[in-house]
Amino acid sequence: MSEILARLEGVSRIYQKGKERVEVLHELDLQIPKGDFIAIMGPSGSGKTTLLNLLGGLDKPTAGTVTVGGAELSSMSNNQLSHWRSTNIGFIFQFYNLLPVLTALRNVELPLLLTDFSSKERVKRASIALDIVGLADRAKHYPRELSGGQEQRVAIARAIVSDPSLLLCDEPTGDLDRETADEILRLLQVLNREHGKTIVMVTHDAQAADFANRSLHCDKGTLEAKEAA
């Protein structure tokens, strides 16, 4: 676990709202080793989502550098970032964000549309991803025909289908009951341990954080390691 996958150095993110300046992240340093599973906790508005956005190349820091898998994100153009995201990052959201007009399989296939794979190859890979999350039998179901937990599994399959090294999860269990949440968390653990995915997960739920290798506390623009309970 010595190899560093992602590194934040002196990262600040300041939002300018009219005359008001909000410094959400303040000179943040963070190293994420390959294969790590980190939970980030903290009060609402403390900048957790902002941090994920920076790691995923959705946002750029006001100061400092973000390096993921050897790529220096702050120096890349938006189109370069789009392309980079499609193969390097898997996003998992609180509200799953599946496309309602597509079946589970076709939702999972979406990131592969950006590749040169043949249609057959895309379907094959999407099916494997669905199989990994345990939903092979729901391939033809539309999101509205799935439970919340199942939808989140499909979203996870979509996040891993192009085999990214880093999964960014923003409150992935925030909308699920305890039991379903635990199933999802166990799935993330499997992806971390057996498939070697590095995972950064934002959560409000201390029990969810227990599934991670370590927890960080985000508050007032800084990160602190949280002693394991």
Binding site: G56, S82, H83, R85, P100, V101, R106, L110, L113, R158
Partner: protein, 385 residues
Amino acid sequence: MKYFRLIWKNAWRKKIRTSLTILSVFVAFLLFALLSAIGFAFRGGVDVADAERLIVIDKISLINPIPISYLNRIAATEGVEFVTHASWFGGYYQEPRNQFGQFPVNPQTYFNMYPEFNMPAEQFEAFKSNRSGAVVGQELADTYGWKIGDRIPIQATIWTKADGGRTWEFDLEGIFSTDDPRGSTALMLFQYDYFEEARAFAKGTVGWYILRVAKGADPVRVANAIDLQFANSPNETKTSTEAAFAQSFTKQFGNIALIVTLILGAVFFTLLLVSGNTMSQSVRERIPELAVLKTLGFGDRGMLGIVLAESILIMLMGGLLGLGVGWVLVQGIAKGMAAFLPGVYLSPAAIAGGVAMMIGAGILAGIFPALTAMRLSIIDALARA
């Protein structure tokens, strides 16, 4: 093409809304098909004109006859390959409303001049050897149900016979068709010799000459040479290309073309408003989904393309349906109106123009929503989700 499923499914996200939009596109392009087909008839063959054919008419007026003696002099002009002539008969069949073009011609040279008209050889021979023979185009034969061997009486409105009669009878010897789908065959041709001999007045004249310019000769110079030859004669001539001739014939319909253009303009303006509004509404509803696509790595061009393609797809669905149904209707209208308005025809140029308009309208209706999708801030959009 791999994006087609996504685009297709997005287009049908709200079935009723999409159906209604497609219906309005359908109506617009149906109208477009019908109006352009009728407009084509009004432009009267300007588009089918052959640049190598020149028409010689009387300088003062098309209806002034020109001496038949000009034939050999025109034929002898440098750059003229050969000449034929025709005259306006202007009669009707049975009832005054059954009007169509009837022309006394020289069968041999006339058909040489118009190789696009096809007729079985034995029918052509029969026509040439029967002084009171006539041939008609397929369109006309279909309209009146004429068969070869029929005796067709035509009532003259201008040309009384030397014996005072006004009924000219012809034996139908042949029916011709045309290779050119744009060309009308709603006309009747009969022997000039018979006409010349039997008519009561204006003997020794023809209505106009048609000549073919020799290969390599400049049509403008040939036309000038002919007109110069007859300058200061009692019958000065005006020689022009077939296209210009057809145009001068149909200038009077210029306003109809303008009205057609205005109607279509209004229809398409409305169409753009309707479909543009539909597209922006449809995009606004799925901002979070579009943000997800961007998150997954869809770039600017991808986002722009997905929305524009959806807009164009909707236009094509309605538009091609409209053109298709229009095409079928035009076949019927062309048959039904062959006698009064020959040449109703949905030309390939009009179809191509229609398809170009679908794509253009699709782009116009979709461009602003597409730009919205492209410029979408992922962070803001996802925060809203």
